[in-house]
Each structure stands twice: as C-alpha cells, then as structure tokens.
C-alpha cells in the first residue's frame, strides 16, 4: 500500500536532501523559539507541549476528514510559539 502524500514528500526530499526549511519564515520562527528558550523565557519542553497539542489537533482533523498534509509542520510550530508567548505574557500577538 502506497501513500500519495508521503510519496510526494519523499520525492521532494530526494531532489533537495539538505533542505530542512521550506521558506525563510520557517527558519526565523524556529530560531526565535530556540533563542527565547535558550535565554530562559520558557523551556523547550514547555514549547514542545504546545507543539504536540497543535499537531495532535491537526492529526485529529486529518484522521476525521481523511485528508493528507503537505508539510504544514511550521504552521503548527508558529501557532504553538504565538500561544506560548501570549500565555507567558511576553507579547500580545492576537
């Protein structure tokens, strides 16, 4: 049994094996989260918990609707970061 969505992502990785970010904003979002956690504004575990919650919600919807994802991981990452910063009172992003 093959999976068309996974096949596409595998093909994309073969064309560009070193690519870890699909757009510059993904890299900036990642680096912002890492720097803020490195300087003690939150722990990476706290961030990961929010990220897992975002991913789980997306998985639930995909399982229900039978849809595939196409590499939206950093959208979840950004939502998790925004929510955590809001919760911590660091910035008011909404």
């Amino acid at each position: 049994m093959s999976d068309a969505a996974l096949d596409k992502l595998i093909d994309a990785a073969r064309l560009d094996p070193d690519h870890v970010f699909s757009a510059p904003w993904e890299a900036r979002a990642f680096a912002i989260a890492l720097q803020l956690s490195g300087s003690g504004h939150f722990t990476w575990d706290e961030f990961r918990d929010r990220l897992i919650a975002e991913v789980r919600e997306s998985d639930r919807i995909r399982a229900r609707d039978g849809t595939s994802d196409h590499g939206e991981y950093y959208d979840h990452f950004l939502h998790a970061l925004e929510k955590l910063l809001e919760e911590k009172g660091i910035v008011d992003v909404f």
Partner: protein
C-alpha cells in the same frame, strides 16, 4: 516554495516578521543571533555528524560497543552535543533486524547528529503509518526487506531519541573511516534506506 498565501498580512511570513520586530524592540531577541541560529541549523548541524558516528562504529569495534551502551556519551566524544541531543539510543541493523525511527507525537529527532528533521518525517502520513504499516512505508522509500526480517519501530519522545546504525555495505572493506562517512545518508540513520557502496 513559499506560496502566494504567505504574502498577505495574516500569512505566516508576515506574522513571523511582526513577531521578530516586536521581540527585537523589547530587547528579547537579537536579530544577529537569530541569523546565526538559522545558519547553524541550515549548514553546520546536520546528518554529516551522524555519518561520522556511524563510520567510526563500522571501523572501531570498541567505539561501536560504547555507542550501543551509551550513545549520548559516545557521540559527545566526537564533539556532537547540544539542544535535543540528550538521551540518545543507538540501534543497529543486522541481516535479521531492521530498525525504523518515527516520532508519532510531533518531531522529536536527535539534532546534534542528524540536524533538523526532513519534511516527510514530520508529516501525518509518515507519523501515522510508520507504526501501523512500517513495511508499506519502507516500500514508499523504495526499500524491500526480506520477508523473514524483523522490523522494529522506535517511537521517539522528549525523553529518548534514536540513531540507527545501518549495515556497512559489502564492497567497502578497503574504504577508510573518512571515506565511509561520505556514503552514510540521513535516511539510512532514520531507517528508511540502506547504505549503498559507491559504484566502482
């Protein structure tokens, strides 16, 4: 690959830009440090580190034993440590056992030895099927295993991450450790590929 939807104000690119400006203004982040982190994870930390670990494990039996006993310490010996690098476990492929690594919750991955995970590793399709249909996933990657081989699936977490030690391919007996490191791929260290000997 940034789509048109990223250009409007509510798109992620605009949101990150606004966030970075706000955090910089508050003195919470330094744009130069952000640039340095991006550069580190785009160009310095990556699977070449893991490839050196595997090449050493192939050529140095005592190192291989140390790696299997305590991977975190063994990779630190080579200078590889950092965020998301603790609690590393190395698992070795043999003729009978093939190891496959996934993170079903999100994206746990051993950054110091493999860098950041590729897009497919974080996808719903991979995370959901690696456990339920590992052989199917391996076929998607073009890897057919013998029917009697056992597939072990390792689910990474915040507490524990995995590095697959792939099998050293036949025909590489004369290669040096440095040469071997050039043929070890990221995919082989996640367990979705085998290492191929270079064509003569």
């Amino acid at each position: 690959m940034s789509g048109d939807h990223n250009t409007d104000d509510s798109g992620p690119a605009a949101r990150v830009k606004a966030l970075e400006a706000l955090l910089t203004e508050k003195g919470l982040i330094d744009p130069a440090a952000i640039d340095a982190i991006v550069d580190t994870y785009e160009t310095r930390v990556g699977p070449r580190n893991g490839a050196r670990v595997v090449a050493k494990a192939w050529t140095d039996l005592t190192y291989r034993k140390r790696l299997l006993a305590d991977a975190t310490s063994a990779v630190a010996e080579l200078g590889f440590a950092g965020p998301e690098g603790g609690h590393l476990v190395a698992v070795e492929n043999t003729d009978r056992v093939h190891n496959l690594v996934v993170c079903t919750l999100c994206s746990c991955y051993p950054w110091p030895v493999l860098g950041l995970p590729p897009v497919w590793y974080k996808s719903f399709a991979y995370r959901s099927r690696a456990v339920s249909d590992p052989r199917g996933v391996l076929q998607d990657f073009g890897l057919e295993l013998p029917r009697d081989a056992e597939v072990r699936v390792w689910d990474s977490s915040a507490e524990i991450r995995y590095l697959v030690i792939p099998q050293r391919p036949k025909g590489t007996a004369r290669m040096s450790e440095d040469e071997l490191a050039t043929i070890v791929t990221r995919d082989s260290m996640v367990g979705v590929a085998k290492v191929e000997a270079p064509r003569a």
